[in-house]
């Protein structure tokens, strides 16, 4: 019976891993994009330093762009950070508790996930308001006539990062609830 349990709902078995894999690829792919942005950030700033010393003038927009890139790096990687459980937490109690009481541990984890969903939801809603305002008012960075960039694409990327992070929390909540209801599964793979 226990062995059968591992392959419960055989008709879903073929479909869900594919979706799960695609989701994982999306989340980690965005994270990879964020990692590439770190390299880009390094190159942009080095180029700025070089241009300042060789040509005597800084590149335009580097500090504004650098600041926006930092925000992008964070929100692009938010979901993958959640997925790989890399949000900093204190391990005084939690992992020991989960090991001893898998079901209660999962319930506690589910509460944390809910808190995460709530907070990301609040921030995403507020960001949505900012995004509509940005588009309406044609907000941009830089100096008019020299070089400008509209802010809404950055805002939209931030919002997308939040939404995907929120969905990742929802997936984890569902996983935790499954453990709470069905007990710990043996398929640890």
């Amino acid at each position: 019976m226990a062995e059968y349990n591992q392959n419960a709902r055989p008709d879903d078995g073929a479909r869900i891993p594919l979706i799960a894999r695609a989701w994982g690829a999306l989340v980690d792919g965005l994270g990879a994009l964020g990692s590439l942005l770190i390299v880009a950030l390094m190159l942009v700033i080095c180029a700025d330093v070089l241009s300042r010393n060789i040509m005597g003038s800084s590149l335009p927009l580097v500090s504004e762009l650098g600041a926006l890139m930092v925000v992008m790096i964070v929100y692009l990687q938010l979901a993958t950070t959640i997925r790989h459980d890399r949000l900093a937490r204190a391990d005084v109690f939690y992992s020991g508790f989960c090991e001893k009481h898998p079901r209660k541990g999962a319930a506690l984890g589910a509460i944390f996930d809910l808190a995460g969903i709530w907070m990301i939801g609040v921030m995403a809603l507020a960001t949505l308001n900012l995004l509509t305002r940005d588009i309406g008012a044609n907000q941009f960075i830089g100096v008019t006539g020299v070089m400008t960039l509209p802010t809404w694409p950055f805002r939209a990327a931030i919002l997308a990062g939040m939404v995907i992070g929120g969905l990742q929390f929802i997936l984890q909540l569902l996983g935790a609830l499954r453990i709470v209801i069905q007990g710990p599964q043996n398929d640890r793979a």
Binding site: A32, I38, I45, V70, L87, F93, F112, M123, N129
Partner: protein, 437 residues
Amino acid sequence: MTGLEIGLLAIALLIGLIILGMPIAIGMLIVSFGGVTLLRNDTVAMSMAGAVANDSLREYLYAVVPLFVLMGLLVTISGVGKDTFDVFQHLMRRVRAGLGVATVFANAVFASITGVSIASASVFSRVAVPEMLRHGYRKEFATGVVAGSSVLGMLIPPSLLMIVYAVLAEESVGRMFLAGILPGILLALVFSVTIVLLATFRRDFVFEPLATSSEIERLSGFQMAGKFVPILALMGLVLGGLYSGFFNPTEAGAVGAAGALIIALARRSLDPRSFWSLLVETGQITVSVLILIMAATFFSRMLAMSGLPREVADLFLSGPLGPYGFLLVFVVLVIMLGCIIDSISIMLILLPIALPVASAAEFDLIWFGVITVIAVEIGLLTPPFGLSVYTIKSAMNDPDLKVGQIFRGAFPFVLAMLFTLVIIIAFPSIATWLARG
């Protein structure tokens, strides 16, 4: 409820949630959101959350975090740590317990090209510990030295903790970096003296009973130069650039990371796969730090709104405790929290309250920052959750080595840190001289 009560409740709730294991950033966001809702209303809380999420990280300065993390991981993978150790091993070959002293100085130098204690702890537990064991040092002592000296990483610039402090205290990152140099050197000296004293008066703590001291390999001048030049070049680039004002901290991070990348490529220690996983790791460390900073911005705005920091300042400064009483309470609190949570989180929770008090007490905030960082670092070495100690345990991968042994080995260094802390409190100019000069 008064603002004061709401502030206190939020802090108590936050600490409770953190101990239960909620991700710290989520905990901070939720108590801050709840706090502002109670203090004002949910519309205000909502718009504050949006502002914090979108704008608090939009600072050119924060680019230093991924850049210095990248630089630190690159020098770690390129084997620079081992070279530094080789050089100091050679230089210290005539000193009593010279390998221990060499570990301290190698850590101090390595610290000047990485910003994370944990990187130093994992590098030197692989490089220095086996060498010390081979020369008859006890395992407890060898791992204790590595744990103790790894804290230099956060004091000697570049340092992640200094960056976080500078952000919270609105001090310049460059100045905070400079402020860490002399205290870092002082701490390295105190550690070395501790080691030599232990080797003289408590020989059984340092060496195995039947230790036979074997010859230490000699290096030719040419070999020394080959090992040391890349490190000195990076140090010169980053510290020299910062000190002369040639680079701002963000630029120093970018140039340092590029330099470290060139060194790693030149030594062929990078293949596409390891470079990629290093980038992913950089990203994850960056995000977990910056998300914490974002959440802490909300938290400190909520606390300021509650009026709690002002009340705490009044309590300490007009009461019998006075400024130095406050400093004592603060240091003790930091060390106690260090037993439960990580360094950055401690600073993010305590500093929104402590900084207004410190500036009301007319403390030099650079000096206060150095004290905070040392106190926070003591927590890395104390049971039950000293992070450095656990890093060493997992890097060593030795089932016979108990965590308790490392804690015992690190204990003399905890005392040495307390001693250094007292000296810096007594002589603030050690911290402020370079920074204000």
